[in-house]
């Protein structure tokens, strides 16, 4: 049974796999003359987490604004989706009744099910369940009734494998497992491994990873021949047990790295509170071109930050082997952030791909208070009231993450509050972020912020960039009628100080029994289509 929600402006809905759908796609194929080719194999497109697909030739702003663009398919799924869909062309599908070459969109649910869906006609090619999910861990309501696959998987297209972490209840106990799956069949290429770790505390004692208290939420990272995953808490509960971790495994053997990163290594705390979680509203751990890792931490006890043994509320840079912290940036108001539950780590850190116009490798991060800092990745700056770009700019509360694109001008796209804001990275007379334009409000009554992605045809001034966004629901909804979410498109090149709206339509729904889990939904754009996964459904938009 499909969940149907009222359309905001569009309501063209072809049922996946129906004759009408196939006929439409046949016409589409004739018109386009070729099969889709671009892939999206990791959270927000690349390890810098730009969210930018600069090879989109079909979705021009004129076409997206026309009546030819709209919803093509609505595919039912078995549970809530908290991860970004991934897209791979030319997969040799070896299972199911539609074997052969397909462009496949992979969607993982909180029920630990992975779907392989034909991106061209919306047919479910195959799905596989990886075990019973963990029901409402610790009783925490910041998620759906199940937590299963919660972090976006990552794909090695060359090796034709997907890495994914499942969360299963086994003999009454929560267990994380890292899987390496064949892209064509979802069969285990190597035996999966149970996630375990230990770390030496500052007093020499050993602290063990406990899957019952750790939430694997950030998108997985594949870099340096390794897979990396970040861990935080459920609701900040069990905060005497839960600490922020970054764990890594060899991507061929799945053997754990000899070192790991734990962000609070203090042995004791009178308040019994540790955390310094890595959650980032699902944003991926990032890596630069040299393989250095970057992530953002959340709150902890406000009194014991020392920048060494406890590094809450910080952007953190580590080497590939996770043996140390190379550099960090902590906002000067860390104490206030901790005390107010105003996590800096509610958002991820975007690495600005090196551009000729920028003097350094830059990053951008913001959190719940909406102060967006521009950072120098070579030296994040320690504890400071400013980043490399001076006083932070205000983008609105951010349970979110930035996007990036260049069209001759280097842009950062923020998505705090309920507005997209386009920022220019200004280099002269000084390095700073200058607001170029803003969108109208896209609404949303959950925590502030939302997620965006960018499509363009190249990176020149004529590349016609489009900013895509998914709005959080304005109402709580029910299981039968989830709170509507919307897909929005804005022209990436402003008219005056506004980003012209190209499109909006209902794009699915969101429901959790306690109304307390944000819809951290990332629109994914590839080959003339936009993929939006939400509560028990994947909607595919494109040109009719």
């Amino acid at each position: 049974m499909l969940n149907t929600t009222p359309a905001l402006t569009e309501n063209r809905n072809l049922q996946a796999g129906t004759p009408a759908a196939f006929a439409t796609l046949a016409v589409l194929g004739l018109l386009t003359g070729c099969a889709p080719r671009a892939s999206v194999v990791t959270y927000h497109n690349d390890n810098s987490r730009s969210g930018w697909n600069q090879n989109e030739t079909k979705l021009t702003s004129a076409k997206v604004a026309s009546s030819s663009f709209g919803q093509l398919f609505n595919i039912p799924l078995d549970d809530q989706v908290d991860v970004a869909p991934l897209v791979v062309p030319d997969v040799d599908v070896a299972v199911g009744s539609n074997k052969g070459d397909h462009t496949v969109v992979y969607v993982a649910t909180e029920n630990n099910t992975i779907y392989m869906i034909d991106a061209v006609n919306g047919t479910v090619l195959f799905n596989k369940n990886f075990g019973a999910p963990v029901p409402k861990p610790l009783g925490c309501p910041n998620n759906g009734p199940n937590v299963g696959i919660d972090g976006t998987p990552v794909i090695d297209e060359k090796a034709k494998v997907m890495y994914v972490i499942t969360y299963t209840l086994e003999a009454g106990l929560p267990v994380y497992r890292l899987h390496m799956l064949e892209l064509g069949s979802l069969a285990e290429k190597k035996p999966n491994v149970v996630v375990s770790a230990s770390h030496t505390l500052s007093n020499g004692a050993t602290f063990n990873f406990n899957a019952a208290y750790q939430r694997q939420r950030p998108g997985l990272l594949r870099a340096n021949g390794n897979i990396y995953a970040g861990f935080g808490s459920f609701c900040d509960w069990g905060n005497d047990q839960s600490r922020g971790w970054i764990l890594g495994w060899n991507d061929d053997t799945l053997k754990p790295l000899s070192a790991n990163r734990m962000n609070d290594t203090l042995p004791n705390n009178p308040a019994g509170m540790f955390l310094s979680s890595v959650w980032m509203s699902g944003y991926g751990v990032a890596a630069d071109e040299n393989g250095y890792l970057y992530f953002v931490t959340g709150n902890s006890d406000s009194t014991n930050y020392d920048g060494v043994n406890n590094i809450q509320e910080s952007v953190v840079k580590t080497p590939p082997d996770l043996t140390k912290v190379l550099s960090l940036f902590t906002p000067a108001d860390q104490v206030g952030l901790d005390q107010g539950d105003t996590d800096f780590g509610s958002g991820g850190v975007l690495l600005v791909p090196k551009q000729p116009a920028t003097p350094a490798s830059l990053g951008a991060a913001t959190g719940k208070n909406g102060n967006l800092y521009l950072l120098d990745l070579s030296n994040l700056g320690g504890k400071s009231a400013t980043g490399v770009g001076g006083t932070p700019v205000s983008v609105g509360g951010c349970w979110c993450g930035q996007s990036f694109f260049s069209d001759g001008t280097v842009h950062i796209v923020s998505s705090g509050g309920s507005n997209v804001i386009l920022w220019n990275v200004q280099t002269s007379p000084s390095l700073s972020l200058v607001q170029a334009a803003t969108s109208g409000s896209i609404g949303g009554a959950q925590d502030p912020g939302f997620f965006t992605s960018i499509s363009s045809n190249g990176k020149s001034s004529t590349s016609d960039p489009i900013i895509w966004a998914v709005s959080r629901p304005n109402t709580a909804g029910t299981a039968a009628s989830p709170g509507p979410i919307g897909l929005w498109a804005f022209k990436g090149q402003p008219t005056g100080t506004m980003l012209p709206q190209l499109f909006t339509a209902a794009a699915g729904g969101w429901f959790t029994p306690d109304n307390n889990a944000n819809a951290n939904i990332v629109p994914v754009v590839a080959n003339g289509e936009v993929f939006v996964a939400s509560y028990k459904q994947l909607r595919i938009f494109g040109l009719h």
Partner: protein
Amino acid sequence: MRKQLRISAWVLIVAAAGFAWSQATPAAAQHLICGIVHKVSGAKFALETRTGKVVQVDASAAVKAGRTAILSEGLAISAEGNLDKSGALQAETVVRIKSARTMWPEDR
């Protein structure tokens, strides 16, 4: 014999872990109240509900069990527990909720 001992030890470990996991999951409480936190004093605070009524909350049990959000003035939270004779809520869990009252779960 050695194998039996090994199996017994394993069963004990799993049982103990299972017990710990079951203890980590709170039992259903009688009341759930949403509101804005005021006048924090240790684990106690005043909770202004959606109707404007103020309920005193003692979250000592939630703090002890590690099932509480950071208590901060002005924060929207839901507290779940039982009412004592004075009408104060003895909270077993405290969780941050959305700022928009339309998204708050129903009080009960």
